[in-house]
Amino acid sequence: MSYVAFADRDHEHEHHDPDTFITKYIWSQDHKVIAIQYGLTAIFVGLIALGLSAMMRLQLGFPNDFHFINPENYYQFITMHGMIMVIYLLTALFLGGFGNYLIPLMCGSRDMVFPYMNMLSYWAYLLSVIVLVISFFVPGGSTGAGWTLYPPQAISAGTPGVDLGILLMLVSLAIFIVAFTMGGLNYVTTVLQARCKGMTLMRMPLSVWGIFIATILGLLAFPALLVSAIMMLFDKTLHTSFFMPAISSMGVDPGYTGGSPILFQHLFWFFGHPEVYIVALPAFGLVSDLLSTHARKNIFGYRMMVWAIIAIGGLSFIVWAHHMYVSGMNPYFGFFFATTTLIIAVPTAIKVYNWVLTLWEGNIHLRVPMLFAIGFIFTFIHGGLTGLFLGNVTIDLPLSDTYFVVAHFHMVMGVSPVLVVFGAIYHWWPKITGKMYNETLGKWHFWMTFLGTYAIYLPMHYLGFAGVPRRYFAMGNTDFLPASAQDLNAAITISALFVAAAQLLFFINMIWSLVKGPKSDPNPWHATTLEWQTPDHPPKHGNWGHHLPEVHRWAYDYSVPGYKDDFIPQNVPADKAPAGRDHGGAH
């Protein structure tokens, strides 16, 4: 794929300003426009997935009160909810959205190095989303195999959407992976090759580090999903037996022999575990910059933070089988994977300490982005600590496949990254649009989301302790659960609907800001990083006008002793920032 771009690529620094509406906003090769396209599409599918989760919660909280939910579409809802949220929302939004917007601006380059390929990446992503959405409407509906798509059930009788549904799902994933690869090659090459003068690796903001390492993880891990998707397609359509063993499906022999469902699980989680960090590392990076900027203090232990990102990225490839402790794989693997999994807690804990220590002796401005950032630390601590339960092979015995797992991964991979997404949108909104939003509305949005989600997921852990299994359409009567478990489920549902409704505040705020919001200052948070120092506000095509910026310092020169301002932008030369000199705003 990359060759297409090699052959067609414009000369290095030639940037023709696109003049028609179509080339400016639709077939745009500008990384900022592509970022917004990625972002809007991701949020759109995310809203679909949010709607699906509301349906699931209705059934769980008030079983069988809603005639539009039956076991068939319930399993379709959980599958599509999971798949959309993990892949089509979070992966696309963090890398395609924030990655696209921030990498060139933060690194001081004019655009991605292969703008044409970047544009193709978005359109392929859109195509994958369209194929995914179509799968809702084909005969039999979308697949209901669970987002992990485990064979045999993903392609054998008894599962919804076992014909067209699963085929379209696999095809959509394959297209997504192509899209991601085109984007990912761009992000990596841009970070490596297109940084402006003076932007050494260790002067890069942590946002870029997080996105950079996450992209490398994605490039190496997504092939595992592609391989398993293709092999499953073969099993389904050509009747090979890669994953399909000899079975008696509903009394009928479908003719498979000897395949291994465990093989699929290995391939899937070889992708699936790094995928967690593909989402988490960009969130780590972005939140670091939010904390530092709004605490007016350098990020504490920057080097440790960089190495922690790298260490987590590397370790994420040797922990995958902790998703498979009770899968029937060789049980001796449990020792190895429990150990590696718990080791990964160490660099992760260091990141948490350093975020908190950044607040220590800071000058904390509790603006909307900062509220979300601190909220993230709280939820991430919670989700990270519950990970120590599940990663420890013994504790996984009672807790695996229960609501504890659901609560854990929603805390760590749902709530936490989404809080960062909101924080980051509020933080960079003035840069992207040139407008300010309503601070009060933003605070309301934060409080309702933060408290609401905690009310959903804290109790959910306890349902898991009690032994409520996940992926149950209805619990029915059991001997071992107290009747009050159903009341708790109802309460969780009410919290969930409340949180879903609270998201309206966000959209109202943003639309209001676009239509009527006041113009924002070019650097409203007095941040040091390059994207706030563009000559135009919001930045135009090519980002930097006639001259590329030159970087003279790291990204965290906040409250440096001896200087009047409490921040020194990265492009201010050492001798141009003497004590007492005023250089607020843009350069």
Partner: protein, 223 residues
């Protein structure tokens, strides 16, 4: 999964070594004289940006094949595996692919040395050889089909079709780029520098796919 892990270990070790070199013993908060670490200039005749993108892409493709090989190794140990006899034609195909790689290297050297007259025959010969390889693979498939070795009859067969098919798709992707460059050369509309860059990158890609093929072929023969 050992194959995939071994492959990843190599990639990650390279990456880590490089990152440590650039990040260790650096105290970034100390403002120092500006040094330009991003390279834009050509290196060894090849534009470094496209080279890095290509190498990254090759890492992705390697990961893809390493994972299939891992699956191959795991699946092979299960009871129903019946080893397959590869068609003799694969030897001929292999020779063609090796020849294509050699000719591409020869063309590249000529392009780098400015001997543009060799571009046209070089590109055409490589293309014919590579196309011959792909057609040969299709004929080999045909032969297998005729002798009753269907994709669904045994996992060994399934992997054979999958591996050769995946490899052929990558070759076809390369041929697309080759076709664009060749078209320009044949029509005489070529910008010399651009064609040279294309040829250089294609050469790397061809060598890489030859290497992948040799690994695959070796594996298929030995199991």
């Amino acid at each position: 999964m050992t194959i995939a892990l071994g492959f990843l270990a190599i990639i990650l070790a390279t990456l880590l070594g490089w990152l440590l070199k650039h990040t260790f013993n650096v105290a970034p908060w100390e403002t120092e004289t500006v040094s330009d670490t991003a390279h834009h200039g050509p290196l060894g005749g090849v534009d470094k940006t496209t080279l890095i993108a290509l190498l990254t892409f090759l890492a992705v493709v390697s990961s893809f094949f390493a994972l299939i090989l891992s699956a191959y190794a795991l699946r092979m140990d299960l009871g129903d595996w019946v080893p397959m006899t590869e068609p003799q034609l694969l030897w001929t195909n292999t020779v063609m692919l090796i020849a294509a790689s050699i000719v591409f290297q020869w063309t590249r050297n000529a392009a780098v040395n400015g001997q543009t007259s060799r571009l046209r025959p070089g590109l055409l010969i490589t293309g014919v050889l590579t196309l011959g390889f792909v057609l040969g693979q299709i004929v080999a498939w045909q032969q297998l089909q005729n002798s009753g070795h269907y994709i669904s009859s045994n996992p060994a067969n399934a992997f054979f079709y999958f591996l050769t098919g995946a490899h052929a798709v990558h070759i076809l992707g390369g041929l697309y780029v080759w076709a664009r460059a060749t078209q320009k050369v044949v029509l005489g509309t070529a910008d010399v520098a651009a064609v040279r860059r294309s040829v250089e990158l294609c050469t790397i890609y061809w060598h890489f796919l030859l290497l992948v093929w040799l690994v695959l072929f070796g594996l298929l023969l030995s199991t």
